[in-house]
C-alpha cells in the first residue's frame, strides 16, 4: 500500500524578527503640501539600500504646481442612481463610498472615494463585484529589504508579502478581499502543506471563483491539493476512512455546528463518500500528482443526511449545499464578513431566497449585502490586521518594501497562509494587549518614511497645534476623524507646546509632536475600525 510512512517535515524557519539589513542613510529633501495649497521643502532621512554615489541627487527638484484649494465633494451624483428594493436609500456620498471601499476592499487611495460617489450606490457596488478582465497592479512592484523582487513560493515570508502587495496595488480590490474571505472560510495553513506554491495556487483558485457558484467553489476546494493535505483528504481510503475533511466540510464550510444539521454517523458516511484521493511523494517535489484512484474509493451505499446512494466526492459537496440548513449558514456567514450585527430574520430570508433562486451563486448575495442599509447605517467593525496594513500603505502611498510586515502581521494575529486552525481567524478577538501592541508597532514601521527626524531636521519653530494636526491628517490621506479624537489630538498638540521651555526645544519638540500625531492617528479607533 502506497501510504507514505513519514511525511517530510518542512522545517519552519525561525522568524527573522529584528534583522536589519545594512543601509546608508543621508539627508534628502522633498516637496510636501503645506496644508494651504502650496508646497514647502521638507528634509528627511533617506535609507539607501546600496551605498550612494558621492554627490548624488538629494532633492528636492523643481517645485510642483500650486494645488487648487480642496474641492468641495460633489453633492449631486452625476448620473441617476437607481437602487433595488431593500437597498440603502440614503445619500451615497463620500463617507458611504469610504465605508464601501473599506469593507469591500482595502480603503481608498486619494480621490478614489469621489470616483465611486459619481457612480451611485448600485454602480459603485457593481464596479467592485463585476470587474472586467484580469486585475491590473499599478505602482512600484514589491521588494524585500535588500531591494530584490519577491520569491513568493521560495523565500520565507514572501508569500505574505506577495498577497499584501496585491491588496495594496490591485484595481480589483473586492477580488482580493473575497479571496481573503475564502481563505478564512476554507482556512488552510501552510503548516501541513508541503509546498508554498500549493498555498498560492489555492489563493488563485479563490480569486478565480470568488463570485461564481458556491457549489463549484466548494468542489474545487475539496480536491485542491493544499486542502487535500491539510485535512487529510489524501489519506482517506475505502479500507481506512479518515474523517477529518468530512467533519469540517459540514461544521465549518457549509452547515455549522450545534444546529442539528448532521450526526456523527453522517460524518462517518460522508468520509466514505470522499474516499479515493491520493498523491505521490518525493523529496524534491513534496506532495504531487494528486489524483482520484477509483480502486481506493468506497463504492458501497452511504447514507448521508438520510439520503442513501453510492455517493462520491462531488455528491458529498452537493448533499451539503442541498441541505435545508445550508442557505441560512451561507448567507449569515458571508454577511458576517461585511456587517458586524447579524441580519434580521427577514433580511436573512431574503438573502437565502436570492441565493437559492440563483442556483447558489455568490455574486447576487454579495451585491445585496454591499447595498444593504445595515452596511452603511450600522456600527463600525474592527479591521483584520492585514486589511488595516494594506489600507495604511495605500493611504500613505507606500509600496511593499520590507519583510517586517510578515512578523508584524503575525504578531498582530494574521499571517497570510497561516490561519490559526481550520476555523480561520476569530473575528471577535482581533484586539488584546498583545495584538494591539503589534498594531502600534506596525504603525511605527508604516510611518518610517513619513516621520521627521527631530534632531537633524530644521523643523518649524512656529507651527501651531492646528497646523500640526492638519499636516499629520494630510499625510494619512485625509481620513475622517471622530470629533472627540480630533479634540484630543488638538489638546495633545497644546499640551506639547507647554513643554517647550528653552529656545532650542522649539523645533525639535514640534517635530516630535508631529511624529506623535502621526502615530496617534495610526493607532486611533478611526484607523483600526472600518
Amino acid at each position: 500500500m502506497a501510504i507514505p510512512q513519514q511525511k517530510p517535515v518542512a522545517a519552519r524557519p525561525k522568524p527573522r524578527r529584528h534583522k536589519r539589513p545594512r543601509v546608508w542613510k543621508d539627508k534628502h529633501y522633498r516637496w510636501v503640501p503645506d496644508g494651504a495649497g502650496d508646497w514647502r521643502v521638507q528634509g528627511f532621512v533617506f535609507r539607501h539600500r546600496h551605498k550612494p554615489k558621492k554627490g548624488h541627487f538629494r532633492g528636492p527638484g523643481p517645485k510642483p504646481a500650486r494645488q487648487a484649494p480642496a474641492a468641495v465633494p460633489p453633492v449631486a451624483p452625476t448620473r441617476s442612481d437607481p437602487r433595488p428594493p431593500g437597498a440603502f436609500q440614503g445619500a451615497f456620498g463620500h463617507a458611504q463610498a469610504v465605508r464601501l471601499l473599506q469593507r469591500a476592499g482595502f480603503g481608498p487611495v486619494p480621490g478614489q472615494a469621489d470616483e465611486l460617489v459619481a457612480l451611485g450606490l448600485a454602480g459603485a457596488v457593481q464596479s467592485l463585484t463585476r470587474p472586467s478582465g484580469s486585475a491590473h497592479l499599478s505602482g512600484p512592484s514589491p521588494r524585500d529589504d535588500d531591494g530584490n523582487p519577491l520569491a513568493p513560493a521560495d523565500a520565507w515570508g514572501h508569500d505574505h508579502l506577495w498577497w499584501l502587495d496585491r491588496m495594496v496595488r490591485t484595481n480589483q480590490p473586492l477580488v482580493e478581499r473575497m479571496a481573503l474571505i475564502w481563505h478564512d472560510w476554507f482556512a488552510t495553513s501552510n503548516a501541513n502543506v508541503s509546498k508554498t506554491q500549493q498555498m498560492i495556487d489555492q489563493s488563485n483558485l479563490f480569486r478565480a471563483r470568488c463570485f461564481g457558484s458556491f457549489l463549484d467553489l466548494f468542489r474545487a476546494v475539496t480536491i485542491d491539493p493544499a486542502m487535500l493535505q491539510w485535512l487529510n483528504g489524501n489519506e482517506n481510503f475505502k479500507w481506512a476512512p479518515n474523517e477529518n475533511y468530512a467533519r469540517e466540510m459540514m461544521e465549518l464550510f457549509s452547515l455549522g455546528a450545534d444546529r442539528g444539521a448532521y450526526s456523527e454517523d453522517d460524518i462517518r458516511e460522508q468520509a466514505r463518500a470522499l474516499t479515493g484521493w491520493r498523491n505521490d511523494w518525493s523529496g524534491e517535489e513534496g506532495a504531487h500528482n494528486f489524483r482520484f484512484e477509483p480502486k481506493w474509493h468506497d463504492t458501497g451505499t452511504k447514507t448521508v443526511f438520510g439520503r442513501a446512494g453510492n455517493w462520491g466526492w462531488e455528491d458529498a459537496c452537493r448533499l451539503c449545499v442541498e441541505h435545508p440548513l445550508h442557505p441560512s449558514f451561507f448567507v449569515s456567514k458571508l454577511w458576517s464578513y461585511f456587517v458586524p450585527t447579524p441580519p434580521s430574520d427577514s433580511v436573512r430570508e431574503g438573502l437565502e431566497g436570492t441565493y437559492v433562486s440563483s442556483g447558489w451563486q455568490i455574486r447576487p448575495v454579495l451585491e445585496a449585502i454591499l447595498m444593504s442599509p445595515e452596511l452603511y447605517e450600522g456600527p463600525p467593525m474592527v479591521k483584520p490586521p492585514v486589511v488595516q496594513l494594506a489600507t495604511m500603505l495605500r493611504a500613505l502611498g507606500r509600496p511593499v518594501d520590507t519583510g517586517a510586515w510578515v512578523w508584524l502581521c503575525e504578531e498582530a494575529g494574521q499571517r497570510l497562509f497561516w490561519p490559526p486552525n481550520v476555523s480561520g481567524w476569530d473575528d471577535a478577538r482581533w484586539l488584546d494587549t498583545s495584538r494591539m501592541r503589534a498594531r502600534w508597532n506596525m504603525v511605527t514601521y508604516a510611518l518610517e518614511e513619513v516621520s521627521v527626524d527631530a534632531w537633524n531636521d530644521d523643523y518649524s519653530t512656529t507651527e501651531t497645534p492646528e497646523e500640526a494636526l492638519a499636516r499629520a491628517v494630510a499625510a494619512w490621506g485625509s481620513p475622517e476623524l471622530r470629533s472627540e479624537h480630533r479634540e484630543e489630538l488638538l489638546d495633545f498638540g497644546r499640551r506639547s507646546e507647554t513643554l517647550i521651555l528653552a529656545n532650542w526645544q522649539k523645533g525639535p519638540y514640534r517635530a516630535l509632536r508631529q511624529n506623535a500625531l502621526l502615530q496617534l492617528i495610526g493607532v486611533s479607533p478611526d484607523t483600526i475600525l472600518q
Binding site: 485535512l231 479518515n242 486552525n421 488584546d432 494591539m436 501592541r437 527631530a454 511624529n515 506623535a516
Partner: protein, 455 residues
Amino acid sequence: MSPRPSHHSCCDGYTRSQLLRSAAAEAGQGLPAIEPGMPEPAGTGLSRRKFLSRGAGLALAVYGASKIPLSAFETGIAQAAQGDKILVSVFFDGGIDALSVLAPVGDTRYAQLRPNLALPPGAGTTFAEDTSLQWHPSAAALATLHGEGKVSAFPAIGYDHPDQSHFTSRHYYEIGELQVGYRTGWLGRYLDAVGDDENPLQGLSLDGSLSPMIATAEKPVAAIDSVDGYDLWSRVSDPIEAEMFRSFARFGSLPADSPGLAQVRRAASQTDKLRQDLAGVGEFSSPVAYPDDWFAHKLAGLAAYIAVGLPMRVVTVRAPGGYDTHADQAGDLEDNLRRTCEGILAFQRDLEARGLADRVLIEMWSEFGRRPEENGSLGTDHGAAGCAFVIGSKAKGEMVGEFPGLSSLDEDDNLRVTSDFRGMYCSLLEQWLEFDAEAIIPGAAGFARPTLVKA
C-alpha cells in the same frame, strides 16, 4: 530605522537582571531589600526610586522608575507576601491522544485497536496508581513529578454526550459549561469576581492572543507574546512621549457608542496600562537550566515574573505544537509532548529553587481525547474522554476517576468518561483559589469535587 529607538534601550539590563537574581537568591523571603545608598546605574540617565511596601514591609528599588507606577508593584508585593496563589493553565491544542500519554499497555484491546500506534509495554515508566497504564516515553518528566507525588492525573476526563468538534468542545472547557455562545471564560468570571479594576496582569495569556478562558466581562486582563518585554516603539521621546501615551490612554477611556469602538477603546486602555506595569521588566535569569525552546522560555519568564511579585492570579499558555494528529501521529506527538513535559519539569524545579512552589498549581488540559481505534493514516480521529493533569508541590498527587478500559466503549466507539471537567474546575476554584464554585460554574452543586490540593 531602528526598531527600538535609543531612549527605549535605556532600561539597564544588567541592573534589572541583578534585581531578578537577587530576588531568586532571596526566594521565599519576599522581594529583596536594596541597600540604602546604592549608586544609580551609571550612564543610563535613569533614577532609581525606592519605596517601602506597606504590605510586605520590604524596601524595593526600581530602576527606570519614571515609567513604573509604584503602586502596581506595591499591590503585587503585598499579594506575594500574603502568598497569593497562581493557577497556570497549559492547553494541548487539538485534542491530545490520552491513550498515548497514559498508554493502556495492560489492556488486551489496546494492541488490537492500535496495530501501528500502540506503545510497546516497557517503553515508558509504569503508572504506579494503575499498573495497566504506562507513561509515554516523552512524558518521562511528568512521570518523575508523579513519582514525587506532585501530579494528579485524570485518565478519562470529559463530559456526557461528548461533542467531537474541536471548537465546540474547546469552548465548553473554556467557559466551564456545556453551552455555546458564552462571552466569558470560567477563569474570566473568577477574575471578574475577585480581580482588581486596574491590574491587567491578574489574568495573563503568555501568547499572541488572549485565551478565551480568561475573557472577562469587566476586569482588565492581558496577553503578551514575549516574556522578554512589552514596549511600544515610536519616533517620539520624552517629554512629548509621555503626553502621546496620555492621549493614547484617553482614546481608551472616551465613551463608545458601538461594540467595535468599545473593543478598540478597551484594547488601547489595557495596552497602555500593561505598558506601564511591565516597563521595568525585561531580561531575567533563572536558577535552573531550561530546555532551549520557546515554551520553556515562556515558563522561565513566568517564574521570574512570579519571583519579582508581579500581581498575577491566572496565567494561560499553550503547549508547543499541535495535537490534532489525524495522520502520522507518533513522531509529532513524541516531539511535542517531550517539549511540553520537559518545560513543565524545569518550571517546577525553578519554582522549588526560588521557594515559590507552594504558590503555583498547573492544570494541563485538552478539548478531547482521540478515537481508540487508529485510522488508516497512522493517526487517530476525534474521540471523547481525554486526559488532564494537575501539577505542583501542593497537588494532591492522586489519580481522579479510573481508567475505564477499552473493552466497553461508548456509542461512538470512544473512550468512556470517568470524571467531569467541571468537577475539576470546582475543586480548583474551591481548594486552590478558595472561591465558591457555585458563583462561577453553572450547576456546580451537581459535580463531585475530587481532592486536588494537599491539605
